[in-house]
């Protein structure tokens, strides 16, 4: 094989990494380079430096160290049986590329993943070495996201956490059965075990209240941005109910910061076992909305599924509205009296809108005109609320409500 130059390798190894949806550079501690005189900072909230025409943000240099892989996961462009072009970056090349991009303000940092070469430990060791060189030799203060290679030794995981802001390991498929079918070398148990180990390190790195009070030395740092995972949606026949069940299991068991949902999209040289469909983007979007309701709006999974049909979320309306249409007896909600928890359940009200309502109503009862100034769309919330000069009367229970609130069909075409 002819030796490839940096651009050729970059094309292959970025192309191979793009199926990872996560590009977040948020959630870590705030850092700057004033004391070190090096390069790099993190602001806590993350910055998207560019956007590709797929609408996705480009925040990190997202690459694979190599796309050679000994695994044969059907959904993966890098599986051993695929005939895609292969390449491998050296440690030096990744370090240089990251610094070159960072100094020109193209990126917030590095997202490094890899195919498994030789074995888990060897692969992980190389990745940790890249992170170590950036942090220690180049005083790099930007964001680093490292993939956890399943079954890498605990010492390597610990070292990775010392340098990384975030760690992640992808569950890939929503059920153990599918993992077995599509990723024969992986197992749900092993992936969850790796998450449990990372969680253990995360907890050990958090000083207890006693430690803080007694001013004890802080435990060594470990991935302050926490851990995340990704699930592919639409490669297998798992329904949304089962997907959300897996999400809640992962959130509750391993304190994940995020579960990413990635609509399965056709890949070059695809396995014949897979549906070569258009990626189910709307379904992916609804899953993210449901995920938000679980984490920030006090919804239980079972409640979200009340608005679903045959285990699938409604594609025409968002999951909160779908739930509300099934539970109309809970509405209308009095904007001037209801507690925060109930306001959060009003379709069309987000958490910021709710905060604004709660603050503003201390200054006097709110009228429809006032609401118009502080919420996104009064029209959307009207059927579900009452306020000083508004009663929805029959509207809440109207049979046509769904049709009124659902977006017009042509807007659904996302391709």
């Amino acid at each position: 094989m002819a030796k490839r130059d940096t651009i050729e390798k970059l094309e292959i190894l970025a192309d191979a990494a793009k199926y990872d949806a996560s590009c977040a550079s948020s959630g870590s501690v705030k850092r700057n380079s004033r004391a070190t005189g090096g390069i790099g900072s993190t602001t806590g909230s993350g910055i998207c430096h560019s956007y590709a025409p797929d609408g996705r943000c480009i925040s990190l240099l997202k690459i694979l160290m190599t796309n050679f892989c000994i695994y044969d996961c059907r959904y993966c462009v890098n599986r051993v049986s695929s005939n895609v072009a292969r390449a491998r970056f050296s440690v030096d090349e990744v370090v240089k590329l990251t610094l070159d991009f960072y100094k020109r303000n193209y990126i917030e940092g590095l997202f490094l993943s890899s195919g498994i070469i030789r074995n888990s430990d060897y692969t992980m060791e190389q990745m940790v070495e890249i992170a170590r060189r950036l942090r220690v030799e180049h005083r790099f203060g930007g964001y680093i996201h490292l993939k956890t290679i399943p079954e890498a030794s605990p010492e390597l995981i610990e070292a990775a956490g010392r340098y990384a802001d975030r760690m992640s390991i992808n569950i890939e498929l929503p059920t153990d059965r599918s993992i077995e079918d599509y990723a024969p070398e992986k197992s749900g148990n092993r992936i969850r075990k790796a998450m449990a180990d990372v969680k253990g390190h995360l907890e050990a790195a958090r000083p207890s209240r006693q430690d803080v009070r007694r001013n004890r030395k802080r435990p060594p740092r470990f991935a302050p941005g926490g851990q995340s995972t990704q699930m592919i949606v639409g490669a297998d026949d798992t329904d949304d109910g089962a997907i959300l069940k897996t999400s809640t299991t992962l959130y509750s068991g391993y304190k994940l910061k995020r579960v990413y949902y990635s609509a399965f999209s056709p890949i070059p040289d695809a396995s014949k076992d897979l549906p070569l469909i258009r990626p189910p983007l709307m379904r992916e979007h609804r899953l993210y909305q449901a995920d938000w309701l679980l984490r920030f709006y006090g919804f239980e999974r079972s409640e979200i599924m009340e608005g679903a049909r045959n285990g699938m979320l409604d594609l025409d309306v968002d999951p909160k509205l779908a739930w509300a249409l099934q539970r109309r007896e809970k509405f209308p909600v009095d904007i001037n009296r209801a507690d925060r928890e109930m306001l959060l359940r009003v379709p069309g009200l987000g958490s910021r809108g709710v905060d604004r309502i709660i603050r503003a109503r201390r200054h006097g009862a709110l009228r429809l005109g006032d609401l118009g100034k502080i919420v996104q769309s009064v029209r959307k919330i009207q059927p579900f609320i009452t306020c000083t000069d508004w009663q929805p009367r029959g509207l809440t229970d109207s049979l046509h409500l769904r049709a009124q609130l659902a977006p017009k069909p042509q807007q659904l075409s996302l391709f």
Binding site: R34, I47, D54, D72, D176, A196, A270, P279, R359
Partner: protein, 479 residues
């Protein structure tokens, strides 16, 4: 009428000083005229700024909102800010009222400034000029909407501390050289190099990371509006990428699957061995892939027993809990800690007994953000008995102490009422003695204090009796 002259378009310090003096003298906003730079003809008609009378108070947050608002291009910003400050003197919680028009104005301009800052942080593109000594030197041209150059400087200093750079805008320049920050007059695009060698790599990356099967140009433009494109080297590629996307996605769909690579066949040939269940390692390895019931689908791992294989006593619990599931060892959570206390009281060495569970995977249901323990079903206990039997074969204890009904069922093979079985001694076919008591988690759940003490005593005496029987049977050959 008082006329206040500010030093520049973005003179926050000047505004603050004057506003303090005015508000402390209760001078109404309508009596103040804010101007930038020295005025002309009517100067002589204006009254002088009075000296401040004591401190004035503003709510937390107002200063930062005002600092941002000063960068805005709204020509009325200084007077509107003072009007708000004036009202805040009599209504301290005014900012919480998002229905108020002036509060909305302040939050709106603040939001616009934050967005402008954010986009500047994101879209500045440095190009390399060369090296000066050991330091690399870069320059960038950028066109912000508002006058945010001073406001944004610290961000770039914090981030690009180790290199020298200048950001030039039409109205100002920010310069960081040898650790010194300075500001200067605006400039032109031609001051910044036309290109940078790394840009080719960046453009390749931009193209490669794009997934043509998910084309959504509107979503892109919402976050990266076209007005920024002219200063983004990668943006020139966008039209071509959009035009070719559908074709590329289709090609992937219609391409016939190719034959698997030769390497994959070689790797697929590697088989797994069959585990030897009569050794501890073999048992643990086999257990780790157990799918005899559906509990493995959501648990982290199967938790095998722990303790010496020569142990005379085996203690069987119900199932791993939240902590055991994460840790991989039995009895490390709250119930395990209580058991340790009981061991200490009756003089049992934890590392002399073999501890295990009737069911090896954690069963739970998610409520909010927590995993709540759920009792195993009869069929799950039955499915898992196979492992317990193998463990018994391996350890061959003289006595098994079953904690709780699930454990008793697994050991005895039929349902057992704890109330009746407690205090009795059963003998299994292979002559193993069986005692039954409650699970320590039962003790943890009790609310009533006196009942708690009573049950704790009973539990200790059950342990005591089991310990007694193990030592009595010590002379007897193990069946």
């Amino acid at each position: 009428m008082i006329r206040v002259s500010l030093g520049s378009e973005v003179d926050f310090a000047g505004w603050r000083e004057a506003a303090r003096a005015l508000a402390s003298n209760a001078i109404a906003p309508s009596d103040v005229n804010w101007q930038i730079g020295e005025g002309g003809l009517f100067d002589t008609l204006s009254d002088p700024l009075p000296p401040p009378r004591g401190e004035i108070r503003v709510p937390r947050g107002f200063v930062n909102l005002a600092r941002n608002a000063v960068c805005h291009r709204d020509p009325q910003r200084f007077s509107r800010l003072y009007a708000l400050l004036f009202r805040l003197q009599t209504k301290a919680d005014l900012l919480a009222n998002d229905v108020d028009d002036e509060v909305r104005w302040l939050k709106k301009v603040d939001k616009e400034i934050r967005r402008d800052l954010h986009k500047m942080h994101a879209f500045v593109r440095f190009r390399k000029l060369g090296d000066r000594g050991s330091r690399e030197v870069f320059a960038a041209w950028f066109e912000p909407y508002h006058r945010i150059e001073q406001r944004t400087a610290q961000f770039f200093v914090d981030r690009f501390t180790g290199m020298d750079w200048a950001i030039v805008t039409p109205e100002a320049r920010i310069v960081w050289e040898d650790g010194q920050l300075s500001f200067g007059p605006g400039g032109t695009r031609s001051e910044v190099p036309e290109e940078d060698v790394i840009e080719e790599q960046w453009k390749s990356y931009f193209q490669a990371i794009f997934n043509p099967a998910r084309l959504m140009p509107k979503a892109m433009q919402a976050e990266m509006p076209k007005k920024y494109w002219k200063n983004l080297p990668e943006a020139a590629l966008i039209p071509e990428m959009i035009a070719g996307a559908e074709r590329r996605a289709k090609d992937m769909q219609v391409a016939a699957p190719t034959a698997p690579t030769a390497l994959s066949k070689r790797i697929a040939g590697r088989g797994d061995g069959i585990d030897d269940l009569t050794s501890r390692d073999g048992l643990i390895r086999a257990l780790s892939t157990c799918d005899r019931c559906s509990l493995h689908c959501h648990a982290t791992q199967a938790v095998a027993g722990d303790g010496p294989l020569e142990a005379a006593m085996m203690i069987v619990g119900e199932q791993p809990g939240d902590q055991e599931d994460l840790d991989g060892r039995p009895f490390v959570g709250p119930a395990g800690q209580l058991l340790d206390q009981a061991f200490a009281r009756v003089g049992i060495q934890r590392d002399a007994v073999y501890l295990t569970n009737a069911v090896k995977h954690f069963k739970f249901e998610v409520r909010g953000k927590r995993r709540i323990h759920k009792s195993p079903s009869v069929s799950e206990i039955e499915a898992c008995r196979w492992w317990l039997d193998n463990e018994r074969g391996l350890v061959r204890p003289r006595l098994i102490l079953a904690l709780g009904a699930s454990a008793a069922r697994a050991v005895m093979g039929h349902s057992v009422r704890i109330g009746t079985a407690r205090g009795q001694e059963f003998v299994l076919d292979d002559k193993t003695l069986v005692h039954v008591t409650v699970h320590p988690s039962y003790l943890l759940r009790l609310q009533d204090r006196s009942q708690k003490i009573e049950e704790w005593k009973l539990f200790l005496s059950d342990l005591e009796r089991a310990k007694q029987r193990v030592s009595e049977a010590a002379g007897r050959p193990v069946a």
